[in-house]
Symmetry: C2
Subunit: 129 residues, 2 copies
Amino acid sequence: MPTDLPVSYETFWQDERLACAVSAALGVIAGRWKVLILRELLPGAQRFNQLQRALVGISSKVLTEQLRQMEQDGIIHRQDFAELPLRVEYALTPLGRQLHPVLHLMHQWGSDYLARQPQRWEQWVSQDD
Amino acid sequence: MPTDLPVSYETFWQDERLACAVSAALGVIAGRWKVLILRELLPGAQRFNQLQRALVGISSKVLTEQLRQMEQDGIIHRQDFAELPLRVEYALTPLGRQLHPVLHLMHQWGSDYLARQPQRWEQWVSQDD
DNA sequence: CAGGATCCCGTGGGATACTG
DNA sequence: CAGTATCCCACGGGATCCTG
């Protein structure tokens, strides 16, 4: 039912439906590995195995799942070069690249949060640093 | 949308551990009802039943869980007025209030996303409008 | 190389009922 | 009013092995 979205500052967050936009954004990036995948793709396109090596601990099944979802959500693009050995590259779409400011702000808040809740560090620390 | 990013742009996202900050922020707001609770609390403190009435469909158990987690995460504060009938108020902490810009940016991105993926609307639409 | 196919499991969250 | 106490289940995600 809600179609046009008046994204003005005054109406922000007033309307029930506007909350959905936040939930939608959340749904798109809330996967276990998605922000990490986004980070890997920020510098440029990456191949499947490059991603898998970067994301230490992820299985190929899960990586495939996350990539497929992100592709369906329109934030990454999958390019299959029909050649042997197989070569597939994943890259951010414009929409995906527009997540950068969001991630940046989340990072800022998160850093502040972690500084105040040091005991909560360990659950977010990557194993591979 | 802000394509130009503020200050510490160089350090952002370079380090493994900086990704954790994003994941941490995500973990704090990723609950099924948390952004909705945040929105309810933005105008000011709310009582338990006020929240439950606003969040149509939530059970008291789940509401309690989400509130407890958010309290533990330091983004809301629980004030128990020891009086009868029982009265407990939940309010944002300063840290919680600092999520506002994050939510705002997520809302902007989400609106853009929903505009491009109209078929995905329904899964985010609230039932109570 | 880039996945598919299976099997498996913890847990976030829902439904319902009860209580100080 | 502001919660507990149980029971329950889907599903996101992990582990392992297989393939065009």
